[in-house]
Every structure is written in C-alpha cells, then in structure tokens.
Symmetry: C4
C-alpha cells in the first residue's frame, strides 16, 4: 500500500507563545502529520523558512513503514528551536511517498480554535 | 455523473475522549464524508495507521449510487474500535471514483472548534 | 485571466438549524464561493446528494465575468430548500473554468466556529 | 530547492470589521502566506474580485529568495484598501513557483475562530 508524494510544503506557520493550559494536548501547538503507508522507512528532512533570516535546518526524523507520526513544530530543537510568535513556512522532503497534513491548535484563549489543511505536494 | 478518485488518505486523526455534550451532533467526533455521484455502488475499505503498532482494519462499508454518507471514526467497531486520545491516520480505497472530505468537531470545551479539509487523493 | 476547472465537489455538507444570532453574517450557514476570473459568464448547475433519498436539483445560478459570488446553501429554494440538520454533499458544474471554495460558520454556540477548504476539482 | 506554482486563487475572502482586540495578532484579519523556497525573487501580483464591481489591483509585492512572507489583505492600500464586511476573491500570480496558503482569524467574538486552506493552484 503506497500513497503520497515526496515533496510537501506548508506556507502558513505560527506558534502562539500563550496558552491557557499546560496540558500537552491543549497547549497551543502546530503540527505536521506524516502517513507512511508503504513498506520502506521514510527518512524525512524539514527546512524552515522565515521572513527576515536564512532558513533553519535540516531537521531530520524517520517514520517507520506502516506507521503515522504527528510531529509538533514546538518540539523541534535540533539544530535549533522554532521561535514563538513568528511567521514561518516549512518544506518537507521524504525518501519515499508519504502524505502530510498540517494542523494548529490555538489555545491563547480558554476556548480553543483549530485549523487543518492538507499540505501542498509535488514529486 | 462521475467525479473523484479511488484512493484517499487522511494523515491527521485524533478523537478527543472528552465532550461537554452527549448530544449526537455535538459530541467530539471525527468523520470522513464520502460522495458517490456515480451509478455503481462504492465498496469502501478503510485501514487505520498508528504510531507504535501495526495497522487496524480493513473496515468495510458501502455507499450506494447517487448517495453521500458521513462516517464517524467514533462509530467504527469491526474489526476493532478506534482508540480515543490517540493519533492515527487513515487510508481509504473505493471500488469506484468518490470524493472524500475530513472533518473534526472538538467539544472538549463548551465552545466547539471545527476543522475540515479535502483528503489527499490518487488513482 | 482564466483560472480553475469546470467540475467541483464538496463531500461534507451540514447546516445546523440553531444559531444564537439572527444577524445575516452570524447565522449558522454553509456557503460555496465561486470565482469567475474569465471573460465569459459562468453558468453554474448544482446537484445535492443525500444519504437516503434521490439527489435534489439542478439548482442554477450565474456568475458574471470578472466577478466572485458567495452562495449560501441556506438560501437555495428552487427546486427545493436544503434541509437543516441533515448531511448532504454537492456537485457543481460550470460552463467555464472557475474556482470553488467551501466555508461553514457554525453559531449554534455563542462562540462561532469556522471551517473552510478548497473543493475537489476535475475537468 | 524549488516548489510550487505560478498561479493561485482564493475564492473565499471576507474581512469582518469588528474585533474584540486591537492587538495586532488578535485583530480580525485575512492573510495569504507565500513561501518562496527558490533562488530567485518572486514578483507577486494580486488582483481582487468582487460581486458587483470591476476588479481591484494589481497590488504588487515581492518575496525574496529563501523567504516566506505572510501578507494581510487588511494591510493592502495601493491602489486601494480592501473593503470590510464585503465578499471578495483573489487571484495571485508569481514570476517564479511559490506556495500559497489562505488563513482567516475571526475575532468578532472574544473567542477567536480560525480557518486555513491551501489555495487553488495552476501553471
């Protein structure tokens, strides 16, 4: 079972610094979810783009065959953390076809707001 | 009238266990909506992927010709229910072209949040 | 300036019957927005699909050249109104290429929730 | 690193005039985010379409190589500001491939609502 593409991009990125909750599932966060439905591991490379500085990365991660993994941009630290309250975009390359979806939970306010969209894909 | 594709994927999946309401339309849920605009029944097979175990499924359902059906992941039970508070992804195959859209209603908080996106398609 | 496609589909449709406001912009509604960036009028035909009855329509409307129009499913009446609290899907055909986006504003609760996604396109 | 397309369209546009906050990040706004992952500057031209008047524009902006920029429709003024409480659509052309995503934050109500979708692309 193989589905997806090797190149993905998310043009909208923003992690609010404030949250009304410290619960891991309710803290303000931005995530990209990767589905690797195939039989080979997916070696993933993420590059982050900003408005007024050179790109950050590569961030590297792996998604095992027949697995999905939901990565929070909040949790990326190597080679550097993702700045809060700052606009960014992301470029995601995979060694095998995968599907990428983008989600944000905004809990600056006690009543959360959600957004999600399939990322832009090529290749 | 035929529209759509045979292979669809949703990389983001998560059913919160909490809801402030027990009303069927306001309980926290995640759904995939299938439109079969054609003249043949659509035999659908769903496989669920997780972070740290083998995939679940296949779940089987049918959408009659010239009909739409909104399936809640919450309601899937055969071969096994979908775990709450757990990240998953889904792979959806149809015997004929269909259109698939993904929606979540989150009512952990008294003020609901919504997300929706067209799924990723191929084939 | 021409952009878009002639066939569009939205698999997710649902108009909540309740609203906390009667203001036209804040009443619960579901809309499809059509952009006709070209030089010819777009003759649009909408067919609605349901879970347990035959499709409704065709609903006919026109978008003039170099214009956009945001149609609310709530406002469709000819040949019949769209039932509330009922799942439906829509199939949209245009005589010229257009772009279609789907939006819902849910105001069952005093705090509105929004969703939007580009529709599925072909042709 | 090049990703994207040269022609993008967003059929849904609406800037609510009301906001409960004057904070720049929480004021009601609608934005399009552009990722230019390539090595050439992207010269961007935006045209806005309305329901009952001729299009406005072109609005011109540039995104430097290896940069992302999040433009608020609220902030466009040349050749004319974007009217509030009015439906519009946008057509975005770039001199090089870019990725465009559409986001709205609605803060008419003290509890914000968010929507986002990848724009429609061609070319």
């Amino acid at each position: 079972m193989t589905v997806g593409r090797r190149i993905w991009a998310i043009a909208e990125g923003y992690i609010p610094s404030g949250s009304v909750s410290d619960a891991h599932d309710l803290i303000s966060h931005e995530a990209f979810c990767v589905l690797n439905a195939g039989e080979e591991p997916a070696e993933i490379t993420v590059t982050l783009f900003f408005t007024d500085r050179e790109p950050a990365g590569p961030y590297r991660m792996r998604v095992e065959p027949r697995r999905t993994q939901h990565f929070r941009f909040n949790d990326l630290t190597d080679p550097e953390p993702v700045p809060r309250d700052t606009s960014y975009a992301s470029f995601i390359e995979s060694s095998v076809p995968v599907v990428v979806q983008h989600t944000r939970l905004d809990s600056r306010d006690p009543h959360i707001a959600l957004l999600s969209t399939i990322a832009f894909s090529e290749g």
